[in-house]
């Protein structure tokens, strides 16, 4: 079951303006750099992007924002991005802010066939406005709904031709749940190996969740805040 495609531009074939994408990464850590570049080079627009963050001004999703290809962002934290803030405050960009844990769980639920579930996060805040609430174990909870996407675009460390993925360190973050929630999941990896080379006990994302995979090139892996010991 060979799911290997040549590169990012082949991987995004069939994507259409107006679709919903999930994009993995936390800040600039573990973002699908190659595929984002291909998106920026494309004519796609009016995209709804589900991503924990929105990159920085000139890198990651920030580059898509600058080109005005994004109509709506679903995120938990969008600091570190002035153009984002500008588009949001001016109303050019629709923004749905979701608590980070709820966001991760809604994505996992989308992949796991769980249409809705209850969580305590956000009860009593504006996040809970208009949502059903209910008490469990003496505590109020909100009903939250699953998220899915036309395409999930993720980045892993190693992958094989069947789509099995292994993540590295904190570059896993949203990539693993998003892999489950895309109708088509595109995985770019730093190292692509033939099926059978990865230890089946160590697979983070089984290949069934991945439809297209390729080895990325020229990873910058930018660091947002390089902090060192004194």
């Amino acid at each position: 079951m060979n799911k290997v495609v040549k590169d990012a531009s082949e991987a995004i074939k069939g994507m259409e303006s107006g679709q919903t994408l999930m994009l993995g990464g936390f800040g600039l850590c573990g973002i699908p750099e190659n595929t984002i570049k291909a998106l920026v080079a494309s004519e796609l627009k009016d995209l709804t992007c589900i991503s924990n963050n929105a990159g920085v001004d000139n890198f990651g999703l920030g580059a898509l924002l600058r080109k005005h290809q994004i109509k709506k962002m679903v995120s938990s934290y969008v600091g570190e991005n002035k153009e984002f803030e500008r588009q949001m405050l001016s109303g050019e960009l629709e923004v749905d802010l979701v608590p980070q844990g709820t966001l991760a769980e809604r994505i996992r639920a989308g992949g796991a066939g769980i249409p809705a579930f209850y969580v305590p996060a956000g009860y009593g805040t504006e996040v809970g406005e208009g949502k059903e609430s209910r008490e469990f174990n003496g505590k109020m909870h909100l009903l939250e709904h699953a998220l899915t996407a036309d395409f999930a675009v993720i980045k892993a460390w190693k992958g094989d031709a069947m789509g099995n993925l292994i993540f590295r360190e904190t570059a896993n973050n949203f990539n693993q749940p998003m892999a489950m929630a895309g109708k088509i999941t595109i995985a770019e990896v730093e190292e692509l190996v033939p099926a059978g080379e990865l230890d089946p006990n160590q697979i983070h994302t089984p290949g069934v969740f991945v439809q297209r995979i390729f080895q990325g090139v020229d990873y910058e892996k930018r660091i947002e805040f390089e902090t060192v010991r004194e």
Binding site: Y77, E80, Q100, G101, I107, V119, F167, E169, T170, T227
Partner: protein, 218 residues
């Protein structure tokens, strides 16, 4: 004399207990890691998917794949583990984290907290703060007692959008340690040289003051 950031962090470190799993928010809370008492076993969780945060890396050894929730490069301790965001918040939401320390714009005497949005001015998003405050067993807010203009941050009601309700258990500020009780703010300790009167004056809601209020020992 009011405490500086490190002083607040030092005082919060006294709240740690051996065997605690702790989530430290961005800013002053992160500094708490520097003051874990010697010999005490505390494991720090970072909600982006790391249990067992170590110190910042040595110069030249930063790894782009290894960051904390504040997007700073970090290292790991022996026995650390990495995981995805859904498992990370399963840990948090499921009550497996013993203590959460975070910053705030405002805290009320009911334990409500606002920390993520200033309408019309600043919206960075709530990140994991709403999940943390809704779930953690024990929540301590690290904050200055007043804002830049000298207005109380400890109040009877939040004026800014809420992060969570009835969740904060304790506040450690530059002036005082305050517990949130059924009767509201209860003054437990004052910063060295700071008077009870000054704390009362700079707090935006009534304070329960029982007997002599000791100075913090830091």
């Amino acid at each position: 004399m009011s405490l500086d950031k490190n002083g607040i962090a030092k005082r919060i470190a006294q709240e740690l207990q051996d065997g605690y799993y702790v989530n430290l928010g961005i800013g002053i809370p992160t500094l708490v890691a520097n003051y874990v008492p010697d010999g005490m076993d505390v494991v720090l969780q970072s909600e982006n998917g790391l249990l067992g945060i170590g110190p910042f890396p040595e110069k030249g050894k930063a790894d782009a794949d290894l960051i904390n929730a504040g997007k700073q490069t970090v290292t790991t301790i022996a026995g650390s583990s990495f995981f995805d965001s859904s498992l990370s918040f399963a840990m948090i939401r499921g009550g497996h984290i013993d203590l959460t320390v975070l910053g705030a714009f405002e805290v009320t005497d009911k334990g409500d907290i606002s920390s993520w949005k200033i309408p019309g001015k600043m919206v960075k998003g709530m990140g994991g703060a709403m999940d943390l405050v809704a779930a953690a067993k024990n929540i301590i807010v690290a904050t200055t007692h007043t804002d830049r203009n000298g207005n109380p941050k400890l109040k009877a009601a939040c004026s800014l959008p809420l992060t969570g309700v009835n969740c904060v258990k304790k506040i450690v500020s530059d002036l005082a340690v305050i517990e949130i009780t059924e009767k509201g703010f209860k003054l437990l300790e004052r910063a060295p040289g700071v008077s009870v009167e000054e704390i009362v004056e700079k707090t935006g809601a009534p304070l329960v003051i029982d007997g002599e209020i000791p100075e913090m020992q830091i």
